[in-house]
């Protein structure tokens, strides 16, 4: 008797779970607003990537062409692939002190695995990820980029 009850209980549970699954797919079918596919080349103008998307490593500059990179080289040491190379130079400040600043922050996009170790470990939060994803180029040399803009300076107050 008990086994008969179990038999019918199993059927009922099985049918119920199948109907639950069909409810999920059926509701997706009836609501086209749930579609996540992007018609990419068509909606290129208004395509917004997610904040978490790791496009490429950039160095944000403010409107006075200042960045936060002190040239400490921690990103270069932490990078597992050697994609980053910090070339620094020494300048004289106004009050006559010698100071080390970056000359070029070289970022090799072609070697980058987007592990984000550089962005996470930067002590002055000088690096960030951009949402740019159209990286296809005709020559490899184009993938070697200089992160700091020409003529940029260290932001005041960042040491």
């Amino acid at each position: 008797m008990r086994s008969i009850i179990i038999y019918f209980k199993e059927i009922a549970e099985g049918v119920w779970s199948l109907l639950k699954g069909m409810k999920v797919t059926g509701s997706y079918f009836l609501r086209p607003s749930t579609i996540v596919t992007q018609k990419y080349p068509d909606n290129r103008k208004d395509l917004v990537m997610f904040d978490r998307f790791k496009g490429e490593v950039i160095m944000p500059h403010n409107d006075k062409n200042e960045h936060k990179c002190t040239g400490c080289g921690i990103c270069e040491i932490n990078c597992p692939n050697g994609s980053i190379e910090v070339i620094s130079k020494t300048i004289m400040t106004e009050d006559g002190k010698k100071k080390r600043v970056i000359d070029k922050h070289i970022y090799r996009l072609g070697m980058c695995t987007f592990c984000a170790l550089c962005v996470k470990t930067c002590p002055s939060n000088a690096l960030a990820f951009s949402q740019e994803f159209e990286h296809a180029v005709f020559s490899k040399a184009t993938l070697i980029k200089v992160s700091n803009k020409p003529g940029s300076q260290l932001m005041k107050g960042v040491e």
């Binding site: 059927i11 199948l18 699954g21 069909m22 999920v24 797919t25 059926g26 997706y28 079918f29 086209p32 749930t34 579609i35 996540v36 596919t37 018609k39």
Partner: protein, 362 residues
Amino acid sequence: MPFDIYDFTSLTQWIDTSLQNAMSPFWTVIVEMLIVGVLILLFYALIGLFLVYAERKVCAFMQNRLGPNRVGPFGMFQTIADLVKLLLVELIPIRKADKFLFNLAPFIVIIASFMAIAAIPFAKGLHAIDLNIGVLYVIAVSAMGVIGILLAGWSSNNKYSLIGAMRSGAQIVSYELSVGLSLITVVILAGSMQLSEIVMAQADGWFIFKGHIPAFIAFVIFLIASTAETNRGPFDLAEAESELTAGYHTEYSGIKFAFFFLAEYINMFIVASIAATVFLGGWMPFHIGHWDGFNHIMDFIPPFIWFIVKAFFIVFLMIWFKWTFPRLRIDQLLTLEWKYLLPINLVNVLIMSFIVLMGWHF
């Protein structure tokens, strides 16, 4: 030329008599067979193309995707483009394959579905052959396709093909029982095996409503078993792509592969139209008791439309199953049949006979 969208009998009779007047009876039969053959071929190709498109679109929407949308408006010409590509693909000869059987197998599969489609009543008078044992004929013919699948697996000289074919054989042998028994439930209710009479008996109510719960159980069992019989997911063990690459049609390419592919979709349409004919009243409009106004409005819709809508509703259900449920293991497949479907079905037939005996149905 008498053309009535509600009754094709006069049209077919007019064609028959004008052919009889023009030529001898022998040639009349030949010409009529040719006309029917060409019409069915055309219908076959159109339905095949449409079903492939419909399945891709429906499954895409169920998975939050868009599906084909590049070729033509809403990607409507995608399947035609795919067909053209398939026709141009090279036919690869397989070394050490059994050449004769290898080439024969796709034709057996496609002929089996051709023969089944002949017995389906599409509308009043639009019926290629009205056998008095229509249900039996359809079961017998649609089960023949598995011979083609077995031959394809055997002759390919490939282990994946053979395993897929064997699984398909085991599957059909077991699920054929359920299909037959669930159809017998309806045959008991209708008192006839002739498909046209089964449809006529549903003029005052479809069998799924007339037969109370047993008819509904038979309908569900028929849906499950016929999905298994057409080798579609969640019962697609015969071509489980993650385990057996493509199962029995691994070694096929080009037009021969297209035959298998098309036959799968046509078989889906055939079982859907059998389910529509037997359970949902075929081309009969939806009638409710004595609501004469409502019934007249329903009569206004042509029978052919009724049939197609019902058949595609069942097809949609089967696509819904395929893209929702995970694939069964072979032991789960056989457990489902022998432990659940078959005993329930046998009891169901008994209950149905009792209901018919006591005259409890509507």
